[in-house]
């Protein structure tokens, strides 16, 4: 083994080095059916370069990424193409060679470290395993020295006591660091990062990203960073590849891409990123990314594209642009390029408040203490939600924001002390103890639209539930009411006879919102309603919520971990940390002149473009 590459040796301008990995015409299909998952994927990664691979869910980005290690998930098959790493043809490798390639030449950091580390083995054992499997170094001492170094590389303690821990004794961020250490162990040429920070809080995410950045620089290792969030790769990647429906539509240097993307999809994607500074308004992309088998011929983005012409449906455009540096696949890219970058940017009209600060109080929480089992998780929380206004509740996981929301909606199953009032009248702790009018007044929209809709019920049956509980309606009246709420969430009445699993994630969340609206509430509690959705869909849902609040005048409690979102919906914000509200005020004031140290940290860690 060579000595450790020094930080300076590889500090040359990223992207100028030799090509380490190249993918040519990769095509991956679903196994028996032969339907494309990925098609015509060609890309290169240079020495020391970080390539961000960005796409919405079901765009085939993870399938493409794992194929670099010659691995396919069940039901997928590589149907053609060539992948070479340092001259080694990965797809032609024998199983023995593959074992050497994986971990030795190219390694993989999975999305969820808690699921990828073996829960029954100590982390020291798991780290040593990879070194032994690859016969790293000449002796046991060599390996132990390497192990200590790996741990310090990822900023974890390397003492015996720490190495003897089991994965569940580490935090999510620490687990992900261990996974990164394992990936780096044998000094591979390329590391594939598959959304390694999606499961983490913003603060932890910022630290992990910082570690990845430092390590790729100091080791000169190349990386493919797969993510659905352009903001995450904005500060990390040298170049960005944008994938849509299994094909790369644009590959280009980060700066050029952000300054003026060549493909309409990239531009839309950029406009959908929540912007912390509040320069532009969120703009969702109508529709959603098609799954394999639902894709139209020609350019798959055409149905959602403002630029689409007849020819787009006929044929997928060839790559054009500057050699391998910046390429785009769009029939009208020259026209798109001619249009200034500002075309897609819609100036914000700040989430306009219907009511002023002087509005009447709808829900008030005073000196609330809530327990999880016997542990106190909310301490002395006081907050007010006013008529026609939206209060954002921001914090990381475990900050108590969801607990507070559940307390208000009567869904917290443990002990609560303190006052929760609806228009001055105290509310019972449990929803069942509340009057019909009180239950009707407060409606809750859950985080995951995959879990909040009964999969065995049609949309009609789902929407009928609040109607039958709160109103005595004839069938025709109920039907008309359902159609009206669907219209409010911009869905077609033809969906009524569908089942939830026939809908996309964004549509499901709209149904969940429609169910809440059907009760004609005065308070809408939105619990992380966009965290399960793609960025483009998230933007559309945020647009919808803001619109609904403006039109119906409903008061809204918007729970989120994403500070960048709140400018678009809320007028007031409460920042929570460890069960306390650490800062409370008008959105603009809090974001522009944060007082609490925690808010400042949160703002600094939120990825921006």
């Amino acid at each position: 083994m060579n000595g450790r590459p020094s930080a300076t040796a590889n500090a040359g301008a990223p992207g100028s080095g030799d090509i380490v990995l190249s993918v040519e015409q990769l095509r991956i299909v679903l196994d028996p059916s032969g339907v494309d998952i990925d098609d015509d994927v060609s890309l290169v990664i240079r020495q020391g370069e970080v390539l961000g691979l960005v796409g919405e869910s079901a765009s085939g980005k993870t399938t493409a990424a794992t194929s670099l290690l010659a691995h396919q998930r069940r039901g997928a098959k590589i149907a053609g193409g060539r992948i070479t790493i340092e001259g080694v043809d990965v797809l032609a490798a024998s199983p023995t060679e593959l074992r050497r390639i994986r971990g030795g030449l190219i390694s993989y950091v999975p999305q969820d470290a808690s699921a990828s580390l073996n829960p029954a083995l100590r982390i020291g054992t798991q780290l040593a395993e990879i070194l032994e499997a690859h016969h790293f170094g000449d002796s046991r001492e060599d390996r132990e020295a390497r192990l200590v170094q790996m741990m310090s590389d990822v900023l974890l303690p390397s003492d015996k006591a720490f190495l003897r821990r089991y994965p569940h004794q580490l935090s999510g961020g620490q687990q992900q660091r261990v996974a990164i250490a394992i990936a780096l162990a044998c000094r591979p040429k390329v590391i594939v990062f598959d959304e390694p920070t999606t499961a983490l809080d913003v603060t932890t995410q910022a630290h992990v990203l910082e570690t990845i950045r430092a390590l790729t620089r100091s080791y000169g290792v190349s990386a493919l960073y797969v993510t659905h969030d352009l903001a995450v790769v904005a500060n990390l990647a040298d170049r960005i590849a944008v994938m849509y429906a299994g094909r790369l539509v644009e590959v280009g240097p980060k700066a050029a891409l952000f300054a003026g993307a060549w493909h309409p999809y990239t531009r839309k994607l950029l406009a959908a990123i929540p912007d912390l500074s509040g320069r532009h308004a969120l703009k969702g992309i109508p529709g959603w990314a098609p799954r394999p088998g639902q894709r139209v011929s020609g350019c798959a983005f055409a149905p959602r594209c403002d630029w689409a012409i007849e020819h787009c449906a006929a044929e997928f455009p060839p790559a054009e642009g500057l050699a391998i540096e910046h390429q785009v696949r769009c029939w009208r890219s020259s026209e798109v390029r001619a249009q200034g970058a500002s075309h897609e940017a819609h100036l914000r009209s700040a989430a306009a408040a219907l009511g002023s600060e002087a509005e009447k109080t709808v829900v008030s929480v005073r000196e609330l203490i809530a327990y999880y089992q016997s542990k106190e998780t909310l301490h002395d929380v006081t907050a007010t939600l006013r008529e026609h206004r939206c209060l954002a509740l921001v914090g990381e996981s475990g900050s108590g924001k969801t607990t507070l929301a559940r307390c208000i909606s009567g869904l917290h199953p443990f002990k609560i002390v303190g006052d929760i009032e609806l228009r001055g009248k105290p509310l019972a702790r449990e929803a069942r103890g509340r009057s019909v009018a009180e239950r009707q007044a407060i409606q809750y929209i859950f985080q995951s639209p995959y879990s909040s809709l009964n999969p065995r019920k049609t949309i009609r049956q789902i929407l009928a539930q609040p109607l039958s509980v709160f109103f005595a309606l004839s069938n025709d009246e109920a039907e008309a009411r359902m159609e009206r709420v669907l219209e409010q969430v911009a869905l077609d009445a033809s969906l009524l006879s569908r089942y939830p699993d026939q809908l996309s994630g964004g549509e499901r969340q709209r149904i969940a919102i429609a169910r809440a609206l059907a009760a004609e509430p005065s308070v809408l509690i939105c619990d992380e309603v966009t965290s399960w959705l793609d960025v483009s869909v998230q933007a559309a849902i945020i647009e919808l919520l803001e619109e609904l609040q403006r039109v119906t005048g409903v008061s809204m409690l918007f729970v989120t971990h994403n500070l960048a979102l709140i400018r678009s919906v809320a007028q007031e914000v409460a920042v929570m940390n460890e069960g306390r509200i650490v800062e409370y005020g008008e959105v603009a004031t809090v974001l522009d002149e944060p007082q609490a140290a925690y808010t400042r940290k949160l703002l600094a860690d939120t990825p921006t473009i």
Binding site: A281, G284, P286, G287, W288, P290, G293, Q294, V296, P303, R304, H346, S349, S409, G410, L411, A431, R432, R434, V436, R439, I442, Q443, Y444, F446, Q447, S448, Y450, S451, S452, L453, N454, P455, R456, K457, Q465, P466, V469, F470, V489, A490, L491, D492, S494, L495, S497, R498, Y499, D501, Q502, S504, G506, E507, R510, R515, A519, A540, E543, L544, E547
Partner: protein, 301 residues
């Protein structure tokens, strides 16, 4: 931004037709497996044999057609039993009881087990603890021993046998159903219904039950197999059907003393019980495999 844009795009390949319920999908999936087809074919044949057997039986089951333990002949194809009845006729008559009693016992067990399991899994806390610990007590007694105890007290009544076998299934079914209910109860749509104030029994019947219909189906097949074994066992021990009634379990008992002289009088009912149990088990197994497969397909979303 004036109105939210209409985002409904027709999904290609998604038809708005009414989809069959989950249990039907499970059955459809199971039908693709060879073991299910074999199980169903054999079970149907066995039920047909039991139902229509009496119509084609050459003699009445209580008619004396020859000397005891006579070997097969032109008049009695499978020979005669311990008092000279025709074995073939008794076999053809003797299936109805075991199949109908096993079915009834399974249904009783399912109703009891599903009710208790769902209430336990949904109510949690002390209700769950109480119900499950009580069921553990029932579970601690081997089902056959428990049945024998009650039959010894109340005498060999058919309704009692059915009830006891059903009760002996209940704890096992309840455990499976409780686990399935627990999983469903944790999903947000249950919390949503609770926040609306939907009545508990409506939540159980309309939110939870449709989501656990597939494991329920598998339990049905599995418990049917066990019921057949238990009912036949009880008949063999003399607590089921009483002579001179024709019954496969009873026949084994009646004729076992002559097994060396006239093995067919024992072997044929033994084989039929075994084939019946294996065929229902094949069906249950097919359903079980289909269930796992289905969950794998849709579980990701």
């Amino acid at each position: 931004m004036s109105t939210p844009e209409a985002v409904t795009v027709e999904t290609p390949g998604v038809v708005a037709e009414r989809r069959p319920p989950q249990w039907l999908l499970t059955i459809r999936e199971a039908w693709r497996l060879r073991r299910t087809k074999a199980g169903v074919a054999i079970s149907v044949a066995m039920v047909a044999l039991a139902l229509f057997g009496p119509l084609i039986a050459p003699y009445s089951p209580t008619e004396f057609v020859g000397p005891p333990f006579a070997a097969p002949s032109a008049t009695a194809w499978l020979g005669t039993d311990y008092i000279g009845h025709d074995v073939l006729s008794r076999v053809l008559y003797g299936g109805r009881t075991v199949i109908s009693l096993a079915l009834a016992a399974t249904v009783i067990g399912l109703v009891l087990g599903v009710t208790l399991g769902m209430i336990s899994g949904y109510a949690r806390r002390w209700v769950d603890e109480t119900v499950m610990r009580l069921l553990d007590v029932v579970l601690a007694f081997p089902s056959l021993v428990l049945a024998l105890l009650f039959v010894a007290v109340f005498g060999p009544q058919l309704w009692l046998i059915v009830l006891l076998v059903g009760i002996s299934h209940a704890p096992r079914i309840a455990r499976v159903m409780r686990a399935a209910t627990l999983e469903v109860t944790q999903r947000d749509f249950i919390k949503s219904a609770e926040a609306l104030g939907v009545a508990h029994r409506r939540i159980l019947a309309f939110e939870i039950l449709p989501n656990i219909s597939s494991p329920l189906l598998v339990e049905f097949g599995l418990r049917l197999t066990y019921s057949i074994g238990l009912i036949a066992g009880l008949s063999f021990l003399g607590f089921g059907m009483q002579p001179p009634a024709a019954d496969w379990g009873l026949m084994i008992n009646e004729n076992r003393i002559g097994i060396t002289v006239q093995p067919l009088a024992v072997a044929v009912p033994v084989m039929l019980i075994a084939v019946l149990a294996i065929s229902t088990n094949l069906m249950a197994d097919g359903l079980g495999r289909a269930l796992i497969g289905i969950e794998r397909d849709t579980g990701a979303t």
